[in-house]
Subunit: 339 residues, 2 copies
């Protein structure tokens, strides 16, 4: 997902696959292999020995072990060190994939491994739960959310943060369409947050890979917005203090990213609906009867539903390249009084 | 290369990487890992258990061992078997990567492994040397070339063949621009060739990945041409005997493929030239003197030249999607009297 999306937006990608699985884990079964940390290190050494490690941007996503997290950190630090005299020449987008909705789905030692890396990242993309894990702040409302962001800016010196899929108790009032928010901030020179929020309609279906899609689109759109603001030779692409929250390149980029994503996911919903209708028409029941056959039917149905929800990103790449101009995805400032 | 090109043309790809290397082998050094045959088998089993193996087309390229070649053959046969009652529902494009210009660069047992698979392939894409290895016919002129193609049609029952990069002694006469040809054929119902040829200007630089680019473009363009000719439900997408060589969907597809490729490679040549000019401006010599430093400079220069020749495919994907309408890439019939 991430490789294709970045390529579609014109980025030359050197992909180091941290897993080679037969399918995404949403199918609840898969075969394949996690890449050992030593192999990630070896591939990077290979790139280095042929002078192919002059990266502008690093995007890191799911790492199958703390060892891989640490290895990714080494690559990022070494690449940044090579750019010491060239501010802004290297930018690391770190998606600290650890868990969601209160559950950790990586081994416990991955959490401190990520915490150690935060000070080297330029932009982090935790979800609400991951932001809690990294900041130590429990997020229950906008105030605690802002505190978590400030903590990440201050203690870990992270310049840019986007918390993806924020769900706060009062967000969905009765009768309203389900919504979630993304909340972003670029620190000012005193490490205070400049907070903005975008609301997105929530789909009633789980789509696998949307985190990677968001991260990959952000890479391309943030660089584009920072190029327009002449920030690519400024350390961490950090805009001056007078730039307000909604005028941040991070906010501008997020608007385009969400417009593209929403359209692709909407088209995916439509395609999924067509698949479901076909399924109902040709429901193939196993010839057997009894519990065993019921179980097979259930499992078969689950697999087909999961496949029907695969994000239609390849056939809709035009929506990535040319995001629709939708007023709905406008960043709004979040004003919270912090102690 | 192959995955991106197919995706750019709208194909949903399930890629099984047969190697994970740090860079292409044109750099003469690389690190990484060849995928063992057991792992290819395991990934396919994973796809199968989640019902994700309903492929329309299989494209197979470089296989690092005879074991992987055999495993790919198993996948192809099993997928075709599942489509027994649906002619044309599965199509296998086999690029039998073995060597070039008289040299085999895979282990010797890969050659018989490929020979055993030919009967199951729909389209094969050998270069001139690989066509000789597979057919047992030494190619010295158009007559022997036609014999090799007929042999592959007859003995191995391969419906479609394209021999990529054909260089025949009388092709490049003095003073002429260097050229190479691709020669293709779709068998008629008596397994006789319907031969066509396209000439392409040869670039004086080695570009890595052009074989994969050609194969991936052929997958998309052949399917498109066969859809237009209403052949997708005909076994092996084989057109009726009255279709002449230059009217074959295979020939029509090859015209579009070469037009796209030529433009991307031309743009790559231009970008390479710009890189070379930059290199000359900033020639960084090692501070040392003597043989060791000379050697380092040589090696450094080689790596930079190789990088400068990387095919600019990502930034030029529009040329893949919208091939230029160039009259130069027209298929011409090859008329040879065979015994």
């Amino acid at each position: 997902m991430a490789t294709f999306v970045m390529q579609a937006l014109g980025c030359e990608v050197s992909a180091i696959n941290t897993v080679q699985f037969s399918n995404h884990t949403g199918y609840k079964q898969f075969k394949g292999r996690k890449t050992p940390a030593e192999e990630v290190a070896e591939l990077y050494e290979g790139l280095k020995q042929s002078r192919l490690n002059d990266f502008d941007v690093l995007l890191s996503g799911y790492c199958p072990s703390a060892g891989v997290v640490e290895q990714v950190g080494k690559i990022a630090r070494e690449t940044r060190f090579a750019c010491t005299t060239k501010p802004g020449a290297f930018f690391w987008v770190l998606d600290p994939v650890m868990g969601d909705e209160g559950k950790i789905y990586v081994s416990e030692e991955v959490v401190p491994a990520y915490k150690n890396l935060l000070k080297d990242a330029d932009l982090i993309l935790p979800n609400q739960f991951e932001a809690e894990l990294l900041s130590g702040v429990t997020i229950t409302d906008f105030k605690s959310l802002a505190e978590a962001v400030r903590e990440l800016h201050r203690s870990h010196r992270v310049p840019h943060i986007i918390i993806t899929s924020v769900r706060l108790p009062h967000d969905n009032e009765q009768g309203e369409e389900p919504e979630l928010s993304i909340v972003g901030s670029t620190a000012d020179s005193d490490f205070n947050p400049r907070l903005f929020r975008l609301k997105v309609p929530a789909f009633p279906v789980f789509f696998s890979g949307t985190g990677d899609m968001f991260a990959a689109l952000m890479v391309a759109r943030l660089r584009e917005a920072c190029l327009a603001a002449d920030l690519l030779t400024t350390a961490h692409w950090q805009p001056p203090d007078e730039v307000t929250a909604t005028e941040l390149p991070l906010a501008k980029a997020a608007e385009k990213v969400l417009a593209s994503m929403h359209l692709v996911l909407k088209k995916t919903m439509d395609s999924r609906q067509q698949e479901l209708e076909k399924m109902e028409g040709t429901e193939q029941l196993n010839s057997g009867i009894g519990e065993e056959a019921d179980k097979d039917n259930e499992s078969d149905k689950y697999l087909r539903l999961t496949k029907a929800a695969e994000v239609r990103v390849v056939r809709n790449w035009k929506d990535l390249v040319y995001p629709p101009d939708i007023e709905a995805f406008k960043a709004h400032a979040v004003n919270v009084e912090l102690d």
